[in-house]
């Protein structure tokens, strides 16, 4: 037990800013996708964990979807929507995203055994992250109420200013 606590203490003291870990998930075609690939484009991104039975998650992604045309005029970034639905609802999640038009605007990923969710230490959805162009997590938020989406855009703009 003492060893374990010592180990955790060393880890935390050696910590740098959290990043996006490398995990295999599925893309909308059902093919394997390594989450490290997300960093290749070198733009900031919003990573939002959602599921078909999570109403606030859907509200948040809809609000971002509605605001996106205006936001993209001011900043260059992407939105990644990660479904945490199990294999039971995997096919439904894909149809659901298509039926909301998300596929046209978002990078859709499907994390059917919650590997990416665990790796990012997400315990409940909605959980959203803003990642800067270098892959560092600069903002995260659990839960959603209307208006929270404005904070995401602020974080995106801030991360771009830092870059300059």
């Amino acid at each position: 037990m003492k060893r374990l606590i010592l180990c955790l203490a060393i880890l935390i003291s050696a910590a740098a800013a959290a990043q996006v870990p490398s995990v295999t998930v599925e893309d909308s075609k059902g093919e394997s996708f390594n989450t490290k690939e997300l960093l290749k484009e070198g733009t900031p991104m919003i990573i939002s964990f959602w599921s078909t039975s999570c109403k606030p998650c859907i509200r948040e992604l809809d609000a971002v979807y509605d605001a996106l045309p205006d936001w993209l005029e001011e900043a260059d970034f992407r939105v990644v929507a990660v479904s945490t639905d199990d294999s039971r609802l995997l096919a439904k999640a894909k149809s659901f995203a298509e039926g909301r038009g998300w596929g046209e605007e978002y990078t859709l990923l499907f994390d059917k055994n919650q590997d990416f969710m665990r790796a990012m230490n997400v315990s409940v959805v909605p959980h959203v992250f803003v990642v800067d162009a270098n892959g560092k997590i600069v903002y995260s938020h659990t839960s959603y109420v209307p208006g929270n989406e404005l904070e995401l855009f602020e974080a995106i703009k801030k991360s771009q200013k830092k870059k300059k």
Binding site: R3, L4, C7, L8, I10, L11, I12, A14, A15, A16, A17, A18, Q19, P21, S22, S28, K29, G30, E31, S32, T52, S53, R59, D66, D86, S87, R88, L89, A91, K92, K94, S95, F96, A97, E98, G99, R100, G101, N113, Q114, D115, R118, A119, M120, N121, V122, S123, V124, H127, Y139, S140, H141, T142, S143, V145, P146, G147, N148, L150, E151
Partner: protein, 548 residues
């Protein structure tokens, strides 16, 4: 055996981590704590003293999870600690005290990965094998052992694993280093071949997949051996995935091997078939699913828990209800729990569902200025004929349709209708098949971009069970931090009991705190299509989630 495994993992984890911590890495962690304070409530038939885990005068229960991961390039390591002081009312009784539930080290290269320690995995849809964590269910059947994966380009993916699955927190003493390990071990392999990549078929995606899994559990009772039970249960599955221009088709056949249905009878052959067909494109999403399951008992431990109540977390495969998971209060009163076929007179189920989503785009005649979304679902399931000639009958059928419309920048409405047909006779030896009609209006109004209110109005009409219900909810949100709600669910058709609830939540960056008070009805809590039965309870709750 157990000790050797744990010592090896701990030593490896510690030495690797010590070396890597010198270099630049990062730590990610999360904490979740749910606390209940129970109150005696005659109207809800709830007395805390009747809950054995709370003790004579106990009113407090708490489930806690701390998870810490360390990442450094291709290396990662992590741990999870779970604490139950004691477990919340309705949770599996095998969750005791505090335990180190997970500990792992992982190395991941471009084409291969190796994990030693705890891991989660699933083959195909999970019907043959799935290890996962679902805190809502009190389930964490992580495998403690080793796993290796290898990918040859996009052509072939291979996975092999061996380990001991965990169940609850182990024995009654709740040993911290016990891991909750069982006397079972599993060995399995999974292979996926992408024919479309090998033969450069650009427009089409076609993959063949297969898995094999052996579960070993020693048998100490001679009579089980005499009846044909074996310590090894070997299962396999074959799968095909096809996709072309938005269309997709998936098929899976699972042979789960010799399953125990009743210890006094010989083992039965467990098998399942799953088909998914659909189309996604041009704002339309349609998915059709068909599934048949026969004797898919698939318990994590088969022989060592004979004669005891089978807890919900004693599973090592995923056999969820393939129907809509409703979220509104009155739509979840009678959720569907699938018939996996674990009894002589209940040998399985057959059925299917169809889901359709459509987005009427902005600027179209029906969509109007801001678009409109519509979704419909139909599902129907029948039991298979039992081994004792019990006839097949309807288990569950539902139809639902919901329409979402953003009227103005400030006002949005969602309307839902659901018809549910559920079989109480089959579920718990009741006497009837119930029918209910439910309507829900969910209205959101934004006064300012950061100040909004949401209201739910619900009504359930039924001639069965507890007859008619009504429910309402009002939520007021002050972004970015605060949200307050009150709700009530009232059974005016029969019991005249109010199930009231109210709460407040505060969220800021990595932290969320929620507090509330309410009366909860006995029934089922379902997560991911798996349900656990919960008793009625009344009390206050305090939930904290944080991630760093």
């Amino acid at each position: 055996m157990k000790k050797t495994v744990i010592t090896t993992i701990a030593a490896m984890a510690f030495s690797c981590v010590m070396t890597m911590a010198q270099e630049k890495g990062y730590v990610s962690a999360s904490l979740e704590s749910t606390n209940h304070f129970y109150v005696e409530d005659e109207a809800n038939n709830f007395i805390p003293a009747n809950q054995p885990q709370l003790g004579e005068d106990g009113i407090y229960a708490s489930n806690n999870y701390l998870k810490v991961d360390y990442y450094n390039g291709r290396f990662s390591a992590g741990t999870q600690i779970e604490g139950y002081f004691p477990y919340l009312v309705g949770y599996p009784t095998n969750l005791k005290k505090m335990t180190l539930s997970n500990l792992y080290v992982n190395w991941r290269d471009d084409s291969y990965s190796v994990t030693v320690g705890s891991f989660y995995d699933q083959f195909g849809s999970g019907l043959l094998f799935r290890s996962w964590e679902d805190r809502t269910l009190g389930l964490n059947n992580a495998i403690v052992g080793a796993r290796a994966t290898y990918n040859f380009k996009d052509y072939v993916a291979v996975k092999v694993l061996w380990g001991i699955p965990r169940l609850g927190t182990g024995n009654d003493n709740g040993e911290f280093f016990g891991f909750g390990l069982t006397k079972v071990n599993v060995a399995g392999a999974d292979l996926s071949i992408s024919l479309s990549d090998i033969f450069s078929m650009n427009a089409v995606s076609l993959a063949l997949e297969g898995s094999v899994l052996n579960k070993h559990e020693a048998i100490s009772d001679d009579y089980l051996v005499e009846r044909g039970y074996s310590p090894n249960i070997l299962g396999w599955s074959g799968r095909v995935n096809f996709g072309y221009d938005g269309f997709f088709a998936k098929g899976e056949y699972v042979d789960a091997g010799k399953q125990m249905v009743n210890p006094f009878n010989p083992p039965a052959d467990g098998n399942a078939q799953l088909i998914e067909l659909g189309y996604n494109g041009r704002g339309l999403g349609v998915t059709m699913t068909g599934r048949r399951m026969k004797h898919m008992t698939q318990r994590l431990t088969t022989y060592s828990m004979l004669g005891t109540d089978n807890p919900v977390n004693n599973i090592l495969s995923y056999r969820p209800a393939m129907s809509t998971q409703y979220t509104y209060m009155l739509t979840t009163l009678n959720p569907y729990s699938p018939e996996v076929g674990d009894k002589i007179n209940k040998s399985g189920e057959i059925g299917g569902q169809i889901d359709a989503f459509y987005n009427f785009r902005r600027g179209t005649k029906i969509g109007g200025k801001r678009g409109m979304k519509i979704h419909a679902n139909f599902a129907t399931y029948y039991s298979l004929k039992g081994a004792d000639d019990t006839p097949s009958e309807l288990l569950f059928r539902d139809f639902s349709v919901d329409i979402e419309k953003q009227w103005t920048k400030k006002f949005k409405s969602t309307l839902l209708y659901s018809m549910q047909n559920y079989n109480k006779r089959h579920e718990n030896n009741g006497v009837y098949i119930g029918l209910s009609h439910i309507v829900v209006a969910d209205l959101l109004y934004k006064f300012t971009p950061k100040f909004s209110t949401r209201m739910e109005l619900q009504y359930l009409a039924s001639k069965d069970d507890q007859k008619d219900w009504m429910a309402g909810l009002i939520e007021v949100n002050f972004a970015p931090h605060w949200s307050v709600f009150v709700s009530d669910m009232y059974n005016h058709g029969d019991s005249k009991v109010h199930y009231y609830n109210g709460g407040v939540s505060f969220a800021m960056n990595h932290l969320r705190v929620a507090a509330g008070y309410g009366r909860y009805r006995a029934g089922f809590i379902c997560s991911g299509g798996v349900c656990r039965e919960i008793p009625a309870y009344t009390g206050a709750n305090l939930t904290l989630t944080a991630s760093f």
